[in-house]
């Protein structure tokens, strides 16, 4: 009950936000909100792996960054009128979101499939370290691409268009991000209540039992990891549009860690919690950074206390409900 009220309240706030901000003459804040929603999408996607699957991925920054670079690079080549690939067949740049966003999701999804296929043969700390190692490989690979800015990052000259309609101003992109978050939450909630989710959760709670039941534990986890990577890539494509800039920083391990913090802070195994976690963490960073440059000194201990004393995270504080136990 409280859960429904909470979801409804957050939804109403997010839908009202563009109108309220416009009325208050603070429309520029909408861009900040769009960034929060992009991270919310990535955090919810990570929750599939972390909260439901029990896999602590320390490499989701790689998927976020890959998606952002795919969208950014396609826009870059479109502006320069140069091909992304010249041979053996020609792939040109594009501004069309209906092409670029699925491409971003597909690239990140394929990367997740490859990384997952190897990493999921390990467990526990080994899994954490191997996902981190793969993400670092991707990070340094991108740094070594001077045509896309290397360490300086890539300026994105324009925004994607959606079915030919340009996404000018902050509102259209905000709506795109909000719809994507809502869609993903609906799809993921359904899938986690279905046979796929039951098997994934069961394998997390007791792997030995799951194997004795004949559940395809490895393939279930790989499917969840791949889906999560693809959606995280989509979030990256939104970020590239929002910032008009793609930084290799998106691929860094700090970013992977931040996504983990968002999920745990919000409440893992709830899908909605990580959305709150992302919004809360980014807002806190923003506010505290305005107060003092030593904002980490405040935020760090605050997060520590919250995680120590509210094991279900923010979602439990709001709804009284713990995540998937």
């Amino acid at each position: 009950m409280r859960e429904r009220v909470a979801v409804l309240a957050v939804a109403v706030l997010l839908i009202a936000a563009p109108f309220v901000l416009e009325a208050l003459d603070e429309a520029f804040l909408l861009s900040v909100l769009t960034r929060m929603l992009a991270y919310a999408l990535a955090a919810a996607a990570l929750d599939l792996v972390l909260g439901y699957g029990g896999m602590v991925s320390f490499g989701h920054g790689a998927f976020l960054g890959t998606g952002a670079y795919v969208a950014g690079v396609l826009l870059h080549h479109r502006a320069e009128a140069t091909p992304v690939i010249a041979s053996p067949f020609r792939i040109g740049g594009t501004a069309e979101g209906l092409v670029a966003w699925p491409a971003a999701a597909a690239a990140s999804g394929l990367l997740a499939l490859a990384i997952g296929a190897v990493s999921l043969r390990t467990r526990g700390v080994h899994f954490i370290m191997i996902t981190l190692a793969f993400a670092q490989m991707v990070f340094f690979l991108v740094l070594a691409l001077p045509q896309y800015g290397g360490t300086d990052g890539l300026m994105v000259p324009d925004r994607n268009v959606l079915a030919g309609f340009p996404l000018r101003g902050d509102a259209p992109l905000y709506w795109v991000a909000l719809v994507l978050v809502a869609l993903f939450l609906a799809v993921a909630r359904t899938a986690m209540a279905a046979r796929f989710g039951l098997a994934l959760r069961g394998a997390r709670m007791n792997e030995r039992r799951a194997l004795a039941l004949g559940l395809p534990v490895y393939r279930l986890r790989l499917a969840a990891f791949t889906l999560s990577g693809a959606v995280t890539g989509l979030a990256g494509a939104i970020l590239a549009n929002q910032a008009s800039f793609v930084s290799p920083d998106l691929l860094s391990w700090q970013r992977s860690g931040e996504l983990l913090v968002m999920v745990i802070l919000g409440g893992k195994g709830t899908l909605f919690g990580p959305v709150l976690g992302a919004i809360f963490l980014l807002a806190a960073e923003e506010e505290l950074a305005a107060l003092t440059e030593h904002w980490m000194l405040i935020l760090g201990p605050a997060l520590l206390l919250l995680v120590l004393f509210s094991r279900g995270g923010l979602w439990r504080l709001v709804t009284g409900r713990c995540g998937d136990a």
Partner: protein, 251 residues
């Protein structure tokens, strides 16, 4: 004699210098209850783990319906029809009782990638699960989280899970472990009702249960088979009495 459902041929497993299982052979025939007894450390649990595919034997083969499954892992063997219960209860404690059983039906049917319909409203697997819960006497507890069951009920759930797998061979590793006399009796009655329907390998310390249910008894000691015969013959066997049964039979 009918073809065995499950057969072990010369299974050997060593941990360093210790032989946990040494050249164990036994055959489980359709519908029979084949008990495996022996003192602690005789290799009973190792045998079950090798039959279920959780441990690989150093040598020897496991045949299911005449086919060599020695190289298959636990999940693959489960899908082919080997179900097991655990000596120490293994449940998904955060899931409800019914969800635990649904998961078993799901694993056996090989359909775990359904994305749309809520798992609890899946008619095919739901029917299997509800029948298994009833057979195990847990229908009234279906909605409860598995973690909240009493120890005895958790053992019943282990049985319900194994039943929902609709196995060809059911391996029961000390199903009465930690149960009181009344609970043990109820369990024996439930297992007795299954006799003839599914081939059961029963590892058990409670001799009343073993002699009430078993069609055949294999006795292990220090990793080896020291006798394998009908319950009457085992009762009379001198070596078995010396190694293990003495106090039970004389008392």
């Amino acid at each position: 004699m009918p073809e065995p459902v499950l057969e072990a041929r010369g299974l050997t497993r060593r941990f360093g210098a210790l032989a946990a299982a040494e050249d164990i052979s036994l055959a489980l025939r359709p519908g029979e209850c084949h008990a495996v007894i022996g003192p602690n450390g005789a290799g009973k649990s190792t045998l079950v783990a090798m039959l279920a595919g959780e441990q690989r034997p150093d040598s020897g083969t496991v045949l299911l319906g005449g086919e060599d499954v020695t190289r298959l892992g636990a999940a693959a063997r489960a899908r082919l029809g080997i179900a097991r219960s655990f000596q120490i209860t293994q449940l998904c404690r955060g899931l409800s009782v019914r969800e635990n059983v649904l998961l078993a039906a799901q694993g056996a049917s090989g359909r775990s990638f359904g994305l749309l319909r809520p798992a609890g409203r899946d008619p095919a697997r739901g029917g299997v699960a509800d029948a298994a819960l009833t057979a195990a006497g847990l229908a009234a507890r279906a909605a409860l989280p598995a973690a909240l069951l009493s120890h005895g009920e958790q053992r019943q759930l282990e049985l319900a899970i194994a039943l929902a797998q609709a196995p060809r061979a059911l391996l029961l590793d000390e199903p009465a472990a930690g149960l009181g006399p009344a609970e043990t009796e109820a369990l024996a009655a439930r297992l007795g009702a299954l006799k003839g329907q599914v081939a059961m390998l029963l590892v058990e310390h409670d001799m009343d249960t073993v002699f009430a249910l078993a069609d055949r008894i294999t006795v292990l000691a220090e990793g080896r088979v020291i006798a394998s015969a009908t319950p009457e013959a085992i009762r009379a066997d001198r070596r078995v009495r010396e190694a293990y049964l003495g106090d039970v039979v004389d008392g």
